[in-house]
Amino acid sequence: MARFVMEFERPLAELEAKLIELKALDAAAELHLDQEIAELEAEVEQLRVTLYQALSPWERVQVSRHPGRPKTQDYIETLGSDVFELRGDRTYGDDEAIFAGLVTIAGRRCVLLGHRKGKNTKENIRRNFGSPHPEGLRKARRAMLLAEKFGLPLVTFIDTQGAHPGLEAEERGQGWAIAENLATLAALRVPVVAVGIGEGGSGGALAIGFGDRLIMLENAYYSVISPEACASILYKDASRAPETSACLQMTAADLVRLGIADEIVPESLGGAHRDPGAVFAAVERAISSALDSLCGQEVGELVEKRFERISAIGVFTEGE
């Protein structure tokens, strides 16, 4: 399968293609192009570093949407053991856009929730590209309450473009389902660790996406509105998303600066898909240390701290 090339990577992809061509030529005709190959290799390496070491917000959005980026399922398969999936909302159906389950992760038995994007078209259709309907969010709430009832910490993986914007979702109370989850998460009497692994699209992300800790992957984003939708409102032109993605301050670093996220997990140069193994290990360490510090806390104190943490978010004035 050809490697998926993001828009901003094109100059690098072209140069890399040239290098492959040159190597093939050299091998076929024994032209002794060692010098040229070495130079081109250095150039490729240089470009790779300049291109990736300071990604713009819009470039990070592209990385967060890269089809090869590790997804909830990959984290579960790699870091989880003794997995038992919890299915259905007990009212309407089982929404595969959300994973809920009993999972042992970072050495602890947990309840795990995650938006579930597919790896291919078939999976994506079944999982609605990780965009939940109300029944998916209600399944998640069921799992939250189960975690609370049995004293299991809750770990969530955020990776969605948003709650599904459809007719049936409205009929079944999309807004209601999100709100119920927010209220439940805010007061849940067990530790809650949320990890932004890819896309964090507004209410559908938030519905399983906050708690005692918010850990963000370096290239994950979390936003009140998608940069495209924001651009089409403000400029009547979705192609101005690169500008709005900067204005919205939605990168991991922005979130830490705004006091919303606690920690950034670094990704390999070029994105998590380049070296997933390193990212899995780093995410496991981050979850593990968050749970270590949270699981020892007295539960009343834990919930009070979470309430204060959420309540403190916001910038306003009380002066004239």
Binding site: E170, A179, E180, V224, I225, C230, Y235, D254, G314
Partner: protein, 307 residues
């Protein structure tokens, strides 16, 4: 996304009904046409009728102060947190600078923010009463609105007053980015606390209520009412139409549609709201809530292990 649709939808509406939808902004002595029945109305008469068309019952947008005065027992509304207002923490400047939008909203409405709150009596019951004002940047929820709401919940709990909120909003205030999205969690957390304290909370959804606001504190109320014909939802109709590539059924996302789908308790005309809310509070405020019932919905064991 929800908010996007809002602004688009509003623009469309302005285009088709000209200035008639902006009744709230016009001074007495101006004539306007009802967008629903096309009757020509005198602004003064409309104001005397709670901004409801006397011919067809069309509910016009209602400014926040008119709203609290219409709900509170006469002369009892006492505003709180009047100085809380927005800053521009992101220095958001895409298209139109947020600072400019804030300044013009303040000038246009005379309000410090898109929401007012205060103590009042309603049907004789001590309440905390709040109302959102759509003229102020679509009554979108940023940090200041979120803070005022959180404080209203806290005040209701501290003084054991029922909370009554009249809602209207295009959604989260995107010019405050993630700070505005997090107000959904903040206000939901506040609502959950009040609920566990057993203090009654009623919300009145008015036209329009959308996006991140729908998906937070308003729908967590003990009893949810809505005004006739009000449009209420998470995702706006235009975005849904783009997604499903067909037009939506008539009456979709109206208050009446939400009753049918089990999402709200009732549709109540503006003229009957004060009475209806008062009668519900007669039930919910009368009893001392037994300790054991508080929080029982969630079946949360306390540390002692009791339910």
């Amino acid at each position: 996304m929800p908010i996007s649709d809002w602004f688009k939808a509003r623009e469309g509406r302005r285009y088709t009904v000209a200035s008639t939808d902006k009744a709230a902004d016009l001074p007495d002595g101006v004539w306007l046409k009802c967008p629903s029945c096309k009757h020509t109305l005198y602004q003064g008469a409309l104001n005397d009728n709670l901004s409801v068309c006397p011919h067809c019952g069309h509910h016009f947008d209602m400014p926040a102060y008119d709203r609290v005065l219409a709900l509170a027992d006469e002369g009892t509304f006492d505003e709180t947190e009047a100085l809380v207002s927005s800053l521009d923490p992101l220095r958001f400047s895409a298209a139109k600078p947020y600072a400019t939008s804030l300044a013009s909203a303040k000038e246009k409405t005379g309000l410090a923010e898109a929401m007012i709150t205060g103590r009042a009596l309603l049907g004789g019951h001590p309440v905390v009463l709040g109302a959102m004002d759509f003229r102020f940047i679509g009554a979108s929820m940023g940090s200041a609105v979120g803070e005022k709401i959180a404080r209203a919940f806290a005040l209701a709990q501290a003084e054991d007053r029922a909370l009554v909120l009249a809602i209207a909003s295009g959604g989260a205030r995107m010019q405050e980015g993630m700070l505005s999205l997090m107000q959904m969690a903040k206000t939901a957390a506040a609502a959950e606390r009040l609920s566990r304290a057993g203090v009654p909370y009623l919300s009145i959804l008015t036209n329009p209520t959308y996006g991140g606001v729908t998906a937070s504190f308003p729908v967590l109320a003990d009893v949810i009412l809505a005004e006739p014909g009000a449009l209420i939802g998470f995702t706006g109709p235009r975005v849904i139409e783009q997604t499903i590539r067909q037009s939506l059924p008539k009456g979709f996302q109206t208050a009446e549609f939400l009753v049918e789908h089990g999402m709200i308790d009732g549709v109540v005309p503006r003229s009957e709201l004060r009475d209806t809310v008062g009668r519900i509070l007669d039930y919910l405020c009368a009893q001392d809530v037994p300790e054991a019932a508080v929080g029982a919905v969630c079946a949360v064991p306390t540390e002692d292990g009791e339910a």
